[in-house]
Amino acid sequence: MKKLLLLGDEAIAQGAIDSGISGIYAYPGTPSTEIMEYVQHSKAGREGQVHCKWSANEKTAMETALGMSYAGKRALVCMKHVGLNVAADPFMCSAITGANGGLIIASADDPSMHSSQNEQDSRFYGKFAMVPILEPSDQQEAYDMMHYGYDLSEKYHVPVLLRITTRLAHSRSAVIVKEPKAQNSINTPQDSIQYVLLPSNARKRYKTLLGIQSALEKESENSGFNKYIEGKDKSLGIIVSGIAYNYLLENYDGGEIPFPFIKISHYPLPKNMFERLCDECNEIMVIEEGYPLIEESLSGLLGRGVKVRGRFDGSIPRDGELNPNIVAQALGLENKAINPISDYVVSRPPSLCNGCPHADTFMAINEAMSVYSKGRVLSDIGCYTLGALPPYQSINSCVDMGASITMAKGAADAGLLPSISVIGDSTFTHSGITGLLDAVNDKSPITVFILDNYTTAMTGGQFSPANGRIEDICKGVGVEEEHIRIIEPLKKNHSENVRIMKEEIAYQGVSVIIPRRECVVTLTQKSKEKKKAK
């Protein structure tokens, strides 16, 4: 029996390797990043048995994984919750094509928005696509579910969604691992038009998906990941999903729980278990991490019948991550802090590192834009989003990957001149290029700052897909060569950089400024590695 100490993310990665995946595809995003990184550092990854290169974005990752599944091999695709929005088109349609080799989509949600712009619940995507969802409660289950999930995917030729949240992704515990399975060999679909979603065929495929729904429900009744646990006190029945199960157990200190309860970790929801609980109990409490998906399914629009408590009636806060205290409060259990919080505690928001190139860029942008009224800097997602905070307060938006360029174009179209865009190198290649093409085609008078620090910095310094080729991409898209300016963001270059910025902001067409200097974090890491090599 081999035991490993693994983060939830790492347990997923190890489970995938041991299930015989041939490839993993992902774009970095907290809290999902460590899944890919673990595979890259593993023996199977290093020796090239498992394909494990970062993709340009979640859509390309999802499609590539679908291609590997088409060829008969097992594939994993990973992303943070908002990444599933980017991959939504291929994800939704993959439910219609179905899978050939096993296909699992791991989406890591971030309730309480520790590192995200919303707290959307990926389970709704699974329900929307009508595919099975697995929601592990701990690291061991995350590992075991990869084995089960690939078998399930191949048994019903359906993609499977694995949903975790930040707390499990970034919590470590011991995991017992199994003997690794061999990889599948190449085996294209028996039906040569299975993946051709022409309307005539898509209608057939959709009926196939609808046709397996009752079998998928039976699977979730019997997989063992959903459990009905007896309880003597029938005044309340409890439904817990995913990690909420642990918080329930914690509140009874590992002892017996007086109420009957259902642990949910596998969807579609097991109707039989729900029926039994509703027959036995007067009132149901639903405790789920994320949006009230189970609660809504149970209470329906009118809420007639059994009384359901949870996030809708305020028993549990409507937003934010669960914890043992919230669960205690919902169940009316003792839950007290002994020491109050001191008045001397103030919040400490994250900030740009000392020596960060973005800091110099923002100081220069602030000066170059100081002649105009405020509110003209549309920005994006990355370390530079911290430019919204003091002392810079340089940017006015951060919405989704790539939106800085298109929003600046829209603001310019509206007549807000000048409008400028601030985006990072990796975010630009993720979803910025098409927006730049729109701006070029429309000759929009915007200046796009592509902050090139040679890396995907916020998530820990991963590979940047167009390293050293940003200006070539801009040229290729059609930005005039004389309006692509590369500057080095350093204090000593400040006035020269401000002059260049002013020039390009004044230009009545698309201009691109690339402030280029390596991220101080990756630079320090590299110099340490060099020292070690000596």
Binding site: L5, T30, P31, T33, E34, H114, S115, R167, L168, H170, S171, R172, S173, A174, I243, N246, Y247, L249, E250, N251, G254, N323, P324, N325, A328, N335, K336, A337, I338, N339, P340, I341, S342, Y344, V345, V346, S347, R348, P349, P350, S351, L352, C353, C383, L386, P390, M458, T459, G460, K532
Partner: protein
């Protein structure tokens, strides 16, 4: 046996290393553990913490309930105060006294330290100074771990082994610097306690 520990500080101060040392030592001792840590945006100089739970029985929650922690180990004094509501009535606070000031409204450090000392079970230690004296300024986190070591219910030797395991690939000098830091922290704490 059950220990619930909050490890606190600012992103980049070495919280994950402290947790990893306790983690390796707990595994060697054959204990169950759950260790939740903070990755992502907060690592850029924000407030970060780790919930570390070890026990001879299975552990349910990855998070420690409020009022149940046995120990706060903090590499930064104001960060120690932030987690006081997590502590149980007999819990200990072991904190560095050197502030990490990266915000304009950092409170008066003397008042912060006075506030910590109001709490009876505290050990305040200038871990930065001790680490500097050992010519190993980056080991302040391990000095604090040393100061907390008597409360961990883990053999000291197992912590030493864990340091050898964790820092082994960085070379012998780094291993020895951290072993010395652990020892210095432990000696400091045993003198005042």
């Amino acid at each position: 046996m059950k220990k619930d520990i909050i490890i606190a500080g600012v992103g980049g101060q070495g919280i994950v290393s402290i947790a990893a040392v306790i983690g390796y030592a707990s595994v060697e001792a054959g204990l169950f553990l759950k260790q939740s840590e903070v990755h992502g945006m907060s690592q850029r100089g924000g407030e970060v913490y780790s919930h570390f739970r070890l026990s001879d029985k299975e552990i349910a929650s990855d998070l420690i309930p409020q009022g149940k922690a046995d120990l706060i180990i903090s590499i930064e004094p104001m960060e120690a105060l932030r987690y006081l509501p997590m502590l149980n009535s007999e819990g200990w606070v072991i904190t560095n006294t050197t502030p990490f000031i990266n915000i304009p409204n950092y409170p008066d450090i003397e008042k912060v330290l006075a506030e910590i000392k109001k709490y009876p079970n505290n050990i305040t230690i200038d871990a930065d100074k001790i680490a500097k004296n050992l010519k190993s300024p980056k080991s302040a986190n391990i000095v604090l771990l040393g100061a907390a070591s008597q409360f961990l219910a883990l053999d000291y030797e197992k912590l030493e082994n864990a340091i050898k395991l964790l820092f082994g690939r960085k070379g012998e000098d780094v291993v020895n610097a951290n072993l010395n830091a652990l020892k210095a922290g432990r000696e400091f704490a045993s003198k005042i306690n």
